[in-house]
Symmetry: D2
């Protein structure tokens, strides 16, 4: 909302999912709105008509643009002169593909929550559809838009760490340490239903951990050797994931994602070590990046200071020491996507430097999940991540 | 932006100050907008006509509601059926009073940056005016709206720390360690001009430190013994403030505010110790509150968990472990004010439990600054904070 | 050195290895001496006669008890009325067994650095010899004697975490990120010589990480799937170790040991998560243990407070807040061993509660190393740790 | 205990105070013994004969050198060929002077706990006596011998922070938050008896905080404005001390010492800010020093790395990442004193670079305490620290 010289008109945004009581839908709306680059003008916020209506009303949608059927929404919006330019999809994972395909078919751009789909075959089909139609398709791996994660990526890319040797990444929670899905907790219920989610910890948070490492290292994981565990009796999906990683360049690593580790609310942490230095970033202090040139003291790099490289500086809103958090990071991602959407109005690609996970990255994420699941089933055998 | 059942119409908001290049103006706009409870519809964003126009345009203001004169704005808006209900004042301190008075005179509510004014006499006059006219008048001591600061206040009030004995508060920065005001840095220039600011570190950040302690302790500081220092040669205001504090109840404390302490970007920290326990909050990790019952291990209380008391829970947006930061805290304050503004539409007081610093708190803040300045001039003599 | 009522006579201690320039020998001496429970009276501190002599002199050994041949030392000391009761072995790993066997054969107790030996066959032979002769045989996995590690073990054992689900352990350094062994760094030279060490990171620090987890979890690791890496070109041993772990009870874990991770001087860290709670200990703050009962705030347990359980309290020297470190922890281990040695004078077993790693634990450690090396060679296959 | 080429004979040490149940006596013994530079050969460990005897026996003193009267001890030891060269005085404060004077009179060197005495007049007398007789007289402000405190001092002295502007020092505990002295807690009893201690928090820990700042800043505090408080009803001494500080050079600061702050076991922390940089040291992580060159990221300097300056390197025992703690720091101080004592055998001054607080520093500490007490009594008036 900082003053800009020539602000383009806000992007007309629709949303599928995210009705009353949803978590990530509200997050997408905050993110879209923080910088006033989007107007939420339509939605199919729930498949339950009364709930869809109430939710739309609460968000100030015009009554005729509050739908209870995403297909109807796609058709109606495509037919309007002022129809939505992009749709944010925040449903359970198994619905991402059908919903996205309905909008892609109408030439409407897509902003899709992660993981891309609940199955690999569907992901391939969806990626092909998106590319065929040429729409902008973003997957909301929001952590890649924290300024200090961008800083980390740029430092690795510029060689300040030397050749990457070791990567340690973890995403750890404790909210599923007990079988709360049986008590009717909505967030837990669909996430632990393999049909809706396509996997447990691996899809929900493991995919974020993978993407964070993927983004910062700048080279895809080549092979995995994994063990998926289900510690809560009766749960139908994994709630803990541990694995070894290998990159083609020779880097090695470990990834841990867990939803059953008491003491961790939502701890995402990445450490990368190269021949010349190491770095550490943790969402607990997202404005901070620890960097150690080999043989020298560790530096605490802070967002909002002159230590920031171009990409971190571009996504930084506030002066250093004024903490930015999860919503700002998510809004940064929406801001990057907005650059692409505005450019798309003129038939142009996103401006140079703008970055967000695309449908291809989303597909790679599902390929990663698939490789992990296959490795675990095969007793932890080293398994190639297909590409 | 979470779905609500019956959202009241957004508050029509105007802004004075906050044009191109301003910092705190942009913050107020983000804060006002995060929850969609305000619409920024008018502004006198700069006293320079061309700049006011450009700034208004960039923010999407209608041309006829982008003013270059706050008095004209007050008159014009008061005359409109759809005129602003409240004005946010984000000018240098010495303009707070004349601007506020212009709007108060028209019955328009005021959201004013801190400190309330640059002099005590003016603060008294302004407070009297606001109360005479009966408008809602909020002062944006935003730190009091962090959820874990609310948690701290509630714990103290409920007696969980026992009688308060010692308070330690500090607000420390390093951006003025060199005379950057001479290099044309706009933020530094007005803050180090005693006419515009009314004081240096004491007004800019010392007042925040005072307010944080005041808010959490729940009892006003009675006396101060202070030393104001100017470490950068040629600077016309203090850039470091140190003082001893006394409360009528017997509590004692220290307050330090500095703008010349290398290593501190913007570190606000409060510690309160009572007969039965202690607590510590730092803006570095604003989602966290350290609490120690006497004789027991320290607990790390996290925002977004069941450890939160009612007031912290009410102002928490995201699940624990998803960091909230400065903008969310500021938006919380705007949310509290919105509750009062919506109630005022019906001639009612703010709902029970809603809290924000009022013009009286702003006046007390200026009284505190005044006492500190008098104590320092008098060689650190214990000086009563008038009330 | 605290006053005790009836202090037994100090244990007459000899040392093999640890001459001029050695690191771990000096540590053993500090540890032995801190509580005045040992007198160092004899040594074969180096195999180089002149160096052995100089080293012995510097340590105040009588000339006739400063040997340059451990076999001669064993014979001579066994023949003296005031001969050593125990020998500390601080040579490179491949010498542990022959040295220990020489002293065991004379009925002299052994305090041996880790890992027990450089090969599994040798470890088996040595363990058998020690048990046949009935000597006290301690392996100096010193980290298990930090008070807060004892606290962790006791909490797990008492069921405060519930059934253990996940274990994360790491021991990370950066001192071998470059090939300093080629520059004549003595510590690096023997540690990277497979003949002397029997392995690189896995033996040197991986074995400590394993033992820490083993000690706290209280159940042996059943299977490993590992990747050993050598990142420094030309190095003859591994300098980074990553693996997945399985326990028979169903617990799962990851272990990472590295000597090439810039930013880590010597970071040993253990995290254990059970059905009812989690804990975290790090050598960076060894006096502190983070404990989280599921659903409650994390507690910071401090050494020297009433939160300590019996075993932690027994090994705590100083009041809380007076940091104890590496030497105190090592001395605690020497103290535990002293209890056993004093009891052995009377032909009795160590007092109840006294704990230190024995030759059996040392053997298990070598079995672990062996399983890791076999798993890595077999492409990361899950491999049973023999027992 | 590291190997040295030509180790001088250990210093023959006596001790007055420190019998059964004492805390600081045991610390002195650990410190004296860690590096084998002292032999404890005589003591008057208690004024109660039976207790003195038992304590001496437990420590292995010869029966004829375990006294129950310090004057008798001074006489007897002075008469022996192998009599003590130095005495460690670890009695309550009010006995420091008479005990020290008895040994000084015999030409025996003194190692005296802090504060030097319980009154200023006594301190002056004692300092004069010590200088007249020319003995080595050390005061055990042990915190000044932590390697990273030495590092801090050297950085300030070498100008790396520029001219010092602001100093923040605090020493905070919670063990006296309740009136435990009434329950027979021995440590609490004498410390809260004004006759034995000469002051409460100000003498016990305030003097350490002062000395730490004094040592690192390298310039004496010129003036204080203080408030001493007694929060526990019925307590005869202060249990909380807060003050403003001024240095002649223009530096300003705050000092806080408290024994009633729940959550703080023993937290000593110093922060120094100059025109060119800032630093922070905390006993919680004594191996670490945070250093921020103005405008650059904060560096985490670690003990045992190449970042250490000469003085820190000289007092470092273990490689970085192997935590050293309170005892090692205390032993460092004993080591520094040993250098002076060994030199004194040859009638020479301590070697260049060796540093420890002398009787003059002890006197300055008592002058500081006296000024603080006078300022507090005078309503916080700025009061010169006499010199």
């Amino acid at each position: 909302m900082a003053a800009r010289k020539t602000p383009p008109a806000p992007i007309r945004l629709g949303m599928v999912g995210g009705g009353e009581g949803a978590f990530i839908g509200a997050v997408h709306r905050w993110a879209a709105q923080l910088d006033r680059r989007y107007d939420l003008v339509a939605g199919a916020l729930s498949a339950t008509p009364a709930k869809a209506r109430r939710s739309g009303q609460a968000l100030g949608l015009a009554a005729d643009r509050s739908y209870d059927d995403y297909a109807a929404m796609a058709a109606a919006e495509a037919a309007r002169v002022d129809g939505i330019e992009a749709v944010a999809i925040v449903t359970p994972n198994h619905l991402h593909a059908p919903v996205a395909e309905a909008f892609i078919a109408r030439g409407i751009h897509v902003i899709c929550d992660k993981p891309l789909t609940a199955s690999l075959a569907t992901a391939r089909r969806l990626a092909a559809a998106a590319k065929r139609r040429g729409v902008v398709f973003a997957v909301t791996h929001n952590y890649s838009a924290y300024p200090m994660v961008r800083q980390a990526r740029q430092m690795v890319r510029e060689g300040q760490l030397g050749a990457v040797r070791v990567v340690q990444v973890e995403y750890v929670q404790d909210w599923l340490a007990e079988p709360i899905e049986r008590g009717g907790q909505k967030q837990a219920a669909w996430r632990t239903d393999p049909v809706q989610s396509g996997g447990g910890a691996i899809g929900d948070i493991g995919s974020h951990a993978w993407q964070l490492a993927d983004f910062v290292v700048g080279e895809p994981v080549a092979e995995v050797a994994a063990q998926l565990s289900t510690f809560v009796a009766g749960r139908a999906v994994d709630d803990d994931v541990q694995m070894m990683l290998r990159w083609a360049s020779g880097a090695r690593g470990l990834l841990w994602a867990s939803q059953v580790a008491p003491g961790h609310l939502n701890d995402l942490k990445l450490r990368v070590y190269g021949a010349k230095g190491g770095l550490e970033w943790s969402q607990r202090c997202p404005d901070q990046l620890l960097v150690t040139p080999l043989g020298e003291p560790t530096r605490i790099l802070q967002r909002g200071t002159s230590a920031m490289k171009s990409d971190a500086a571009r996504l930084s809103r506030l002066p250093g020491g004024h903490p930015e958090g999860y919503l700002e990071g998510f809004a940064n991602l929406y801001g990057e996507i907005a650059e692409a959407l505005v450019a798309a109005r003129r038939g142009q690609p996103a401006p140079r430097g703008v970055q967000f996970p695309t449908v291809d990255d989303g597909l790679r994420g599902v390929q990663f999940i698939d490789a992990v699941q296959r490795s675990s089933k095969a007793g932890g055998r080293w398994t190639k991540v297909s590409s």
